[in-house]
């Protein structure tokens, strides 16, 4: 065993509780060292006859296991190398699944990628009832498929349709949904998590809970799909057709994932795992995966670099103004309201504001339709957006984003009107994509407070936000814009020079780095991939060339603050 102490063990009355708390990291993740330490504990528990069952719980508040450390993926030298790593994972998971000591996982917070594959191998999955408790297999976003048995155990656990939905989109599944689908066994209040986990472990040891059991509610339809060769074939074929259509065939991980799931449902168990390992190996060496991982690193490496003096503190944006109630303005208002930020929505006439508010409601209603939010939450969010045809309510607003017609004269008028009503330290952001910010700032009496915030349409689906600074833009202004962008869940890039090329390239990257928008959900985001589905390599090379072309880094990637996508 190594020096690292990611785990701590206590045994009480025959039940072992293993606490996972990776030192020096904000989240728990699997690395070779961690796996080595864990298997050491596993051996220890297997040998100790006094231990009858075990619980694995996270010592980190808000996260369970965020997945595998992707550093190890970069170390693969060949497809065989990667496939072997996958097979190694299979061995460990199999040991957890069939070993003498049944394991209960007590999940509070993110349970992602390898973390979920681990949980699937356990004998009992208990989850805390918190909004942060989410389950996902996000490997597809890196151009990979789950490599530690996820494509095999998940379809058997929750059925082929639900499994494909998770594997092909990488989407987050909340605890309640996970319970409904049979992914987990039970949900409890977080304060009871440990206690109930120990109780369930004891019941497993006593045989009161069988180690192998069905956790989903079976319907006739689910049986028809999962338990008949015809049903499975139809579903897999449909998934393949849909995914290929939406990805334009540019995303090898999608057919690979479908093939792996097919292998899970037909033929022997060992053949299924072998298929998963082989496909994982191939994908790990594919150009798409390499480029996506490069971009992931680029994003992470530049995480803290806003291009402003270190320690610049910005005022918190507690409400925003949006001028111009067109599609962009409405999108910006909607994503702000989604994050609980009040919006003052201004246009020249109230019927235009009404149209904009209707568009805001349409965006917010999607959450209601998908049951992500309750009606009460929907109404609260709608209530955060108020409309006006005058500039009342702008006197205390710390950030205004104008999204009016792309005409320099109109923009200048809006800048002058705004500066008459805004507090002097407000940030005036312009959502232009065609007019240089410097030109717009010409109308400003306070050009240091002017900045570009270039959103992409549709705002609620496109993850990218380009913050364009002028030579005059004050550092605090940049930080305020960047922090706001992150708060509304955007990946923020600070662009020093207006560079349409950079945004176009990065936009393209984001489009195919998020198959979630492309495969799983029908919608506006999904068509983008086909349209821009060029070979990924060229795009990334262009990105790499940007700093050189300008002689200095002109493009900084700033990932959104959402932790769920940071590790696999």
């Amino acid at each position: 065993m190594t020096e690292s102490t990611a785990f701590s063990l206590s045994v009480e009355d025959g039940i072992a509780v293993l606490t996972f708390d990776l030192p020096g990291e904000s989240v728990n993740k699997f690395s070779p060292a961690v796996i080595e330490e864990f298997t050491g504990y596993l051996a220890l528990l297997e040998q100790d006859q006094a231990v009858r069952a075990a619980v694995l719980i996270s010592g980190k508040p808000g996260t369970f296991i965020a997945g595998a450390d992707i550093d190890q993926f970069l170390a693969f030298r060949s497809a065989d190398d990667a496939a072997q790593a996958s097979a190694f994972g299979h061995t460990m998971m199999r040991r957890i699944e069939t070993g003498r000591v049944p394991l209960v996982v007590a999940v509070e917070g993110a349970c992602l990628g390898g973390g979920l594959e681990f949980a699937l191998a356990a004998a009992y999955r208990l989850a805390a009832d918190t909004p942060k408790t989410i389950f996902a297999l996000p490997e597809i976003k890196l151009g990979l498929i789950p490599g530690a048995g996820g494509t095999q155990r998940l379809p058997r656990r929750i059925g082929v349709q639900a499994a494909l939905d998770m594997i092909l989109t990488g989407k987050n599944v909340r605890a309640k949904k996970a319970k409904q689908s049979g992914l987990i066994d039970e949900i409890v209040h977080p304060s009871l998590l440990r206690e109930i986990a120990i109780r369930r472990a004891r019941e497993l040891a006593e045989g009161k809970i069988p180690r192998v059991r069905e956790t989903r509610r079976r319907t006739t339809m689910s049986r028809a799909i999962d338990d008949t060769a015809v049903g499975r074939t139809i579903v897999l074929r449909q998934a393949r057709q849909l995914a290929m259509k939406k990805s334009g065939g540019n995303y090898p991980a999608i057919p690979a994932a479908i093939d792996a799931v097919r292998a899970a449902l037909s033929g022997s168990e060992s053949a299924g795992y072998a298929t998963e390992a082989r496909l994982f190996g191939q994908l790990a060496m594919s150009p798409v995966c390499k480029e996506l991982m490069f971009l992931f690193y680029a994003t992470t490496a530049l995480k803290k670099d806003a291009g402003v003096p270190e320690g610049t503190v910005a005022a918190k944006v507690d409400r925003i103004g949006v001028v111009g109630s067109g599609f962009m303005g409405a999108g910006i208002a909607a994503v702000s309201a989604q994050q609980g930020i009040p919006v003052r929505f201004k246009d020249t006439a109230l019927d235009r504001v009404a149209a904009g508010l209707a568009a805001v409601r349409d965006v917010l209603r999607e959450g209601l339709t998908r049951k992500h939010i309750t009606r009460r939450e929907y109404e609260d969010r709608v209530g955060l957006v108020s409309g006006t045809a005058s500039y009342t309510g702008f006197g205390r607003i710390p950030l205004v984003i104008e999204a009016v017609f792309e005409d320099l004269g109109v923009k200048h008028t809006v800048v002058r009107e705004l500066e008459r009503v805004l507090p002097t330290d407000a940030v005036l952001a312009t959502n232009t994509s065609t007019i240089p910010i410097v030109r717009i700032a010409e109308a400003s009496a306070r050009p240091e407070r002017v900045i570009g915030m270039h959103f992409f349409s549709p705002v609620h689906k496109m993850p990218l936000l380009e913050v364009v600074v002028t030579p005059k833009t004050a550092p605090e202004v940049t930080v305020r814009a960047v922090e706001f962008g992150r708060r509304i869940g955007k990946t923020v890039i600070v662009v020093r020079r207006p560079s349409a090329i950079a945004s176009a390239r990065v936009r393209r990257w984001r489009v195919w780095s998020r198959p979630a928008d492309s495969v799983g959900r029908a919608g506006r985001g999904s068509t983008a991939m086909t349209r821009r589905g060029s070979a990924p390599g060229s795009t990334v090379r262009s990105m790499r060339s940007i700093p050189a072309a300008h002689g200095r880094p002109s493009c900084r990637l700033m990932p959104s603050s959402s932790a769920s996508s940071s590790r696999w």
Partner: protein, 436 residues
Amino acid sequence: MRTSPFGGPGSGHRVAIIDGVRTPFAKAGTLLKHLGVIELGKLAVSELIHRTDLDPASIDLLTFGTVIPSVLAPNPAREIALMPLLPKGVQAWTVSRACASANQAITDAADQILLGHATVAIAGGAESLSNVPILHSRGFSDALVAASRAKTPMQRVQSLAAIRPKDLIPVTPAIAEPTTGETMGQSAEKMAKLNGITREAQDALALASHHGAAQGTADGRLTAEILPIFPERGSRTPITADNGIRADTTAAQLAKLSPVFDRAYGTVTAGNASPLTDGGAAVLLMREDVAKAAGLTPKAYIRSYAYAALDPGEQLLQAPVLAAPLALRRAGLTLDQIDLVEMHEAFAAQVLSNLQGFESQRWAERAGASKPLGAVDRTKLNVMGGSVAIGHPFGATGARVTTTLVNELARRDGQFGLMTVCAAGGLGFAMVVERA
């Protein structure tokens, strides 16, 4: 010890009325029928916060008036305060004083400020007469309760079998006095007869109300206090004005309407009474020094207020005649010093009875005054119409009247304003506001 301008102990500061905002007032069952008391209140409070550029974190309390409460949300003020715009730590309670409920909210908030318990308060009211709870009959309720307590299915069937056809008729709350059984309209009818208020005089007042409100709507003075509503259902056309105001109504048209409450000899018609209305209104109150420190310019300050009551069986809506002299005395003012009067118009007959009472020696003595207040200069009374035209959402009217008064007083650069509100139960309210 510092004393309050109202005469009691207090913080020694005046209470500033910073601004007021209201929804459009819409006849019940029309434009606002999908919005309940809580939604109407939230809309008014949210817009008030935005328009005044108020930091929501500074708000200490929110109190709201409503007359017909929802059984499901008995403290609507708290539900309003729980909208995400406000911090969760805002005190909130609901008050009820019939048609003066919003006034009760405003004076409660003012008292809290004067006591030094608060510095920033939102007070208002809302009413949705489109969403009146319809109740089951007593017999039906009894059967349901008995059934819920039944121990066997047979007992349950027996309990429910006790329901008689007449029990199935729902009970709609009437606007009637519990003590006398008299409806509002009947009370107004009685007042018209007791005080000799003619049909013509009532119709003339109603006409003035509609024309004044129409003028205020056309020139934007009245609509300045209205927030636009962007309907979620039906037409998406923003609602920006009250829908009960009839700019084109004439004396002849009003004269054609039949009396409602006394078909044979009555004078009160649908035309000279306030309609059933939906709406919400809110007012921002602050301690004078806190408002100044925040850079806010108050529209006016509360100088004094008074409540009064009389026997509901007598003249139900005549208590403003007792409250107004008291409020003026507390303000140290006389009626001739008042630049503008806003009198809530439940019925034209009530307004004219109240005005007559102001001039009456008998009523002056009942109010404890040696001589009558005197005649109200009609050019200073309800200059943009009143509740007859604008509408009367019971819980909201007091905040509407306050807002209308302080806005118009400022426009006219007047010094003192008086408002009165009559209320069910024989209650009356009066308040004096001052500028600068």
